[in-house]
Amino acid sequence: MKHLLSTADLDAATATEILDIATEMASVSGREIKKLPTLRGRTVVNLFYEDSTRTRISFEAAAKRLSADVINFSAKGSSVEKGESLKDTAWTLQAMGADAVVIRHPASGAPHRLANWVTGSVLNAGDGTHEHPTQALLDAYTIRSRMGRIDGLHVAIVGDVLHSRVARSNVLLLNTLGAKVTLVGPPTLVPTDLNASVQVAYDLDAVLPQADVVMMLRVQKERMTDSYFPSAREYSRRYGLDGARLRRMPAHAIVMHPGPMNRGMEITPEVADSPRSTIVEQVTNGVSVRMACLYLLLGGAR
């Protein structure tokens, strides 16, 4: 595996391998000295065109725990603000000897473009409304560690599916790993034309009793002013996860959220902070999963 651009590129065996390696990495994170020498002398560049403290820090921690040299390049206050193109930035990173570039970008497909212009590995850390593969992998890891398996589970992904890179990556990966996925949201926030492998539902209450995993998506503020739904209150009433809805779920079912949350909008504090919620675990698991990805892309073949 050269790049990680989309979860569509992962077959079940490779995805499972990443999750297995992540399990080993998690044991490192539990040690007093959280460090492996695996990527010593390798350079990982975090190229962030969007602010994302959570994802950047997670990648940074992952690379450092593998002893890689980490360079953080944020678009703000950089050559990008002076009008440098992605291609020229790619050449600059190339000239500096980047072995891997972790890219977060507001334009869908930017990592695919970047992969044409650098010889190192490219890791997609979220591109526009397209994909966020490591988020899907850490979600799969979290589901597997809580539920013991992924195959055969029913996962409901709820909210702004249309604009969600988390949803896209999860649908592909969960299908590959044998889960059944139902997308739930107002019809305005579900793509008009989906392939047949996914179910769509508009009634959250009808889906909840059958779900093993309920994955809530963040609703961006700008959707509220663009007539995707009438008001934040109406959205919460129809698609928000509150205590009453939590109790409609089977006793074993878990609640996930990629963060950052809009408390009171798509999820109430009661649900977010309940023992059924995996939100904090997801953050912890993120580091292990990203270590596994970097290991596979940079170290595994050596």
């Binding site: 334009a107 869908s108 497909g109 930017a110 473009r113 409304t129 793509p191 034309d193 989906l194």
Partner: protein, 431 residues
């Protein structure tokens, strides 16, 4: 660069006019002086047409020449070279230049640049509204009365979305037999749109450009044109639904004509999977079903013409993220090969769709005439047996944004003549 201004007499030997029996054509004083077997070559330069098909010079109703304003992407001269090499003898230059061609001054400038280039007749198209802003009419009459004699008006790149303004424009140009060429795109339905809205856009996370944004404007405009009895031309039709609406309008007697581009006849939205913006175009590449409907519409005459929408873009406007790239593709040098690929060697149909009909719509009397004695000597010679591989840097355009790179296409333009003067000979442009 030397310009051949001296009148020449040219004898084309053994060319097959529209694929018919081999015959000779004598070009003299700008017209086809004689057609027939065994003509005398005395005093004439001989061009061997053996194995070649003679077509009337092609006419493009939709070309972006970028001058004035983006001379780094294309100029009237370089675009004229590309046109001649593509078999064209006339092109209509779209108005979205900088400054916009919305005054007599700018259209006359473009017209003059075309005359100076001297490779094809460059017929400027005038903007419908001032600055393409869609707010008030440009001085359409002044452009019509100018030396450029503008008859086609278009805000191409933008839709004349305001229905009242569109109605007025359609009505107003009736006074000088003008036509409004509409870029049909309801802007409120395509905000931020990047590609055809469908299963591929859903997967790629690119904002969708729904077919209904085109179809709803065409439906409105054919009703408006019918209501005021005006001529409407629909640019770059891209969906099956649009074909159906235009078919219905024609059956009702509305004076509507329509064009399709070569790329919409061949390519589909799956091309976006590479995220390579060379496939980004407006309207976007659509589905197989749309391509089928467009081909059928072109064959049955619902769609009157093929127009290139030749849209050169500088490298930096394409070598970037998809969402930041400008939409548009080169077309002039590959149009005939693509149409040949799609329609097959139906030469009379190709002549109608790529020469006669576009010249009629544009009001270009000197072009789009059948190749008969006495007609203006605007023609091109094609070798249909040659298949060639498209090399972006091998094209004459200043820009390289062809979507056909590496593709093998049929049909090579061997020679083109503008009023009897060769603009292309042996596949090489003459200036």
């Amino acid at each position: 660069m030397t310009v051949r201004r001296t009148p020449v007499t040219i004898l084309i030997r053994n060319a097959r006019v529209l694929g018919g029996e081999p015959t000779d054509l004598l070009l003299r004083d700008g017209v086809i002086a004689e057609i027939g077997a065994g003509l005398s070559a005395e005093g004439a330069e001989v061009v061997d047409g053996t194995g070649l098909v003679a077509l009337p010079g092609l006419v493009d109703l939709h070309t972006h020449l970028r001058e004035p304003g983006r001379e780094d992407a294309e100029t009237v001269y370089t675009g004229s070279r590309a046109a001649a090499l593509g078999g064209y003898t006339a092109v209509c230059a779209m108005a979205n230049t900088s400054p916009v061609a919305d005054t007599a001054g700018v259209v006359e400038q473009v017209y003059r640049l075309g005359q100076e280039a001297g490779l094809v007749d460059v017929q400027p198209i005038g903007a419908v509204t001032v600055g393409l802003a869609g707010e008030r009419l440009a001085e359409l009459g002044a452009m019509a009365d100018s030396a450029a004699r503008v008859r086609v008006f278009s805000d191409d790149g933008f839709c004349v979305a305001d229905p009242r303004l569109m109605r007025r424009a359609l009505e107003y140009v009736k006074a000088f037999d003008g036509v409004i060429a509409q870029h049909a795109e309801e802007p409120r339905l395509t905000q931020g749109a990047q590609m055809h809205e469908g299963d591929v856009s859903a997967r790629l996370g690119l904002t969708g450009w729904p077919a209904v944004a085109e179809e709803s404007i065409i439906a409105r405009d054919v009703l408006l044109a019918g209501h005021v009895g005006a001529r409407l031309h629909v640019c770059h039709v891209s969906t099956a639904g649009s074909v159906e609406i235009i078919r219905m309008a024609k059956a009702r007697g509305v004076r509507v004509t329509a064009e399709v581009t070569p790329h919409h006849l061949l390519l589909t939205h799956e091309k976006a999977e590479s995220y390579d913006p060379v496939f980004k175009v407006n309207p976007p590449l659509r589905t197989d079903a749309d391509v089928e409907a467009l081909r059928e519409g072109l064959r049955d005459g619902t769609i009157d013409i093929v127009a290139t929408d030749h849209a050169p873009h500088a490298a930096e406007d394409k070598e970037c993220e998809w969402a930041y790239a400008r939409p548009g593709m080169l077309g002039l040098e590959t149009a005939l090969p693509i149409v040949l690929d799609v329609l097959g060697e139906d030469w009379p149909l190709i002549a109608e769709r790529m020469s006669y009909a576009p010249a009629r719509i544009a009001g270009l009397d000197g072009h789009g005439n059948a190749l008969t004695a006495g007609a203006p000597a605007n023609l091109t010679l094609v070798d249909p047996t040659v298949r060639w591989s498209v090399d972006p840097t091998g094209l004459a355009s200043l820009s390289h944004n062809t979507p056909y790179a590496g593709m093998t296409v049929p049909g090579r333009i061997v020679a083109t003549f503008l009023r009897g003067v060769p603009t292309v000979l042996d596949g090489k442009v003459q200036k």
